[in-house]
Subunit: 344 residues, 2 copies
Amino acid sequence: MKNKSKRNSIKGIAAELGVSVTTVSFVLNGKAKEKRISEAVTKKILDYIELIGYRPNQLAQSLRTGKSKIIVFMVEDISNHFFSRLARIIEDIAYQKGYKVLFCSNENDDKKSLELIDLFKERQVDGFMIVPSPGIQDKIAALKAEKIPVVLCDRYFPDLDIDHVIIDNEKASYCACEHLIKNNFKNIALITTDVRQTQMLGRLEGYKKAMAAYQLPTNVLILPYKEKTTLQGKESITKFFYENPDLDAAFFTTNYLTKNGLAVIKESFPNALNKMGIVTFDDNELFTIYTPTITAVSQPLEEMAKELMKTMLALLKNPKVAHPPKKIVLKAKLVVRESSKVKE
Amino acid sequence: MKNKSKRNSIKGIAAELGVSVTTVSFVLNGKAKEKRISEAVTKKILDYIELIGYRPNQLAQSLRTGKSKIIVFMVEDISNHFFSRLARIIEDIAYQKGYKVLFCSNENDDKKSLELIDLFKERQVDGFMIVPSPGIQDKIAALKAEKIPVVLCDRYFPDLDIDHVIIDNEKASYCACEHLIKNNFKNIALITTDVRQTQMLGRLEGYKKAMAAYQLPTNVLILPYKEKTTLQGKESITKFFYENPDLDAAFFTTNYLTKNGLAVIKESFPNALNKMGIVTFDDNELFTIYTPTITAVSQPLEEMAKELMKTMLALLKNPKVAHPPKKIVLKAKLVVRESSKVKE
DNA sequence: CTGAAAGCGCTAACAG
DNA sequence: CTGTTAGCGCTTTCAG
């Protein structure tokens, strides 16, 4: 009388079928064999479940087991092409493995990152894949100390022994510069931001080393991060170009900088478009149809996503166990197009 | 002896402070006043909570209340610029309102959509914001019947009374075409896909009406959806252009089609680039720095995201109550650039 | 004003 | 081979 056996719950099923919840739970979790439950009973339960389309309540399951089967992927900005592409691939792998992915954007801001991490910890997500903002070292260390799976992406903290998957920025940058140099460019500018994180530092370093190796002058424009997509940022680039009329090539360290740079060139230095050498970090389909087509340092998205998930899944399997951190460094590929061709 | 009061739980706090869990729960939920709990006790609890940095276990909370504070935003492809931009805005609003957002991509595929919806239902998400694939009408109706909040986005099912926020595709398309016509283009092609959903149908219809209104011939290329980003798709466009040498303008109904179209023009009809009128649906920053800059039908992303969330939040507030469906139709804006200028 | 206690739906140790 | 039962951490009714 009192029981609400109509409800789709293990209890209801047990009541309906005249077995115990344990039995139902076991067959539900595929432990029928292991627990030596009779074929007949197993089948009866399975059939009934099929019949009423029963699905276990994951929330209850999570509460009980402590695992939520959710991982978060925190990036700088999910609407940035590079990150949304990554996200798309990660999504596929994760769902395949029975995990859901929560995406969120931290805008490379520490406060926001911290808030987001706390938020998700409360929700007991199983793990974090993070493109970290500059100042959250301690938080990351704390997560690790709590044995919560974390893997960093795109940039990392050299002082911290945390799993990460990144690319060899310095080398990629060096190669890009060397390519320009070999194509006779002698006055190469680097346009970058003031972000003092490993990925940007590496790109800067690669540039400097290349210039030094070939005894070429350096011309670096460092834009405040805030100006990355603003009018202000464009003006700074314009000014920089005006003040350095001898430049014959420009290397942009991220895709949004490149967009701004191309806009500036188009507006204020239209003749330069086909005379100047141009190389960008981060590829984009549109660079293949631009005129000129733009040479780009292309990051191995697919591979990054795969390694990220592989690393995360390994951690998830054994979160308690200490392990030597996996530091995965992938190679970027220079895709040579028209914009860096030898000019006459 | 038996109790594990060290644990961060209401129980632990109650034990530690020598009060009951009820009391703690009440002050936690801001019902101290309402339940007339003494100031002293309230403060004591609050302070202690602050001290140990206690955060309630959301899972348990959800299990108990039946609300997960999670909504899902299902799009066609999260790596598509249009959707990732939308997602970014939605994310902000949602987090502000205390909701988390799960993003996922259905690839406009029914099977995948259905699987995803079931997956999330099990996880008892509070609501669904969906860019629906063509054949999931019944599922959507079922969700509504179950009183689960759903709001459709970008496209909808005319036969179903479900909240949605879309743009007036037909009108937007008509305006774009009219603009071309007024700029003296007389042989305008429409490049679209075979997707038979409202958004595409509307764009096609707008084109047809405009051509009819001005007694101009129609030239429609309908590409299979599968070819949207393939080489095959490019070849089809190339062939279409070869077979219709009289075309003087092309209107692409989505951004990926435009990318392909521009690639084809660049490769096979370089002279056409500046002679042909070009208009695209879906704006993109890169269109502002392309040469020529590309005229685009720009969808009001910010507004769409806001209306979506507003509608969702309203449903969330009162999921049980029947209500007249909100059918929000926004206006797109034609951003005129060089590619559709009058040609001599 | 405060406490006891009944679950939400599920898992798994323990006891037949 | 199957059933009983004790929680997971929280909310909320009902009694003091």
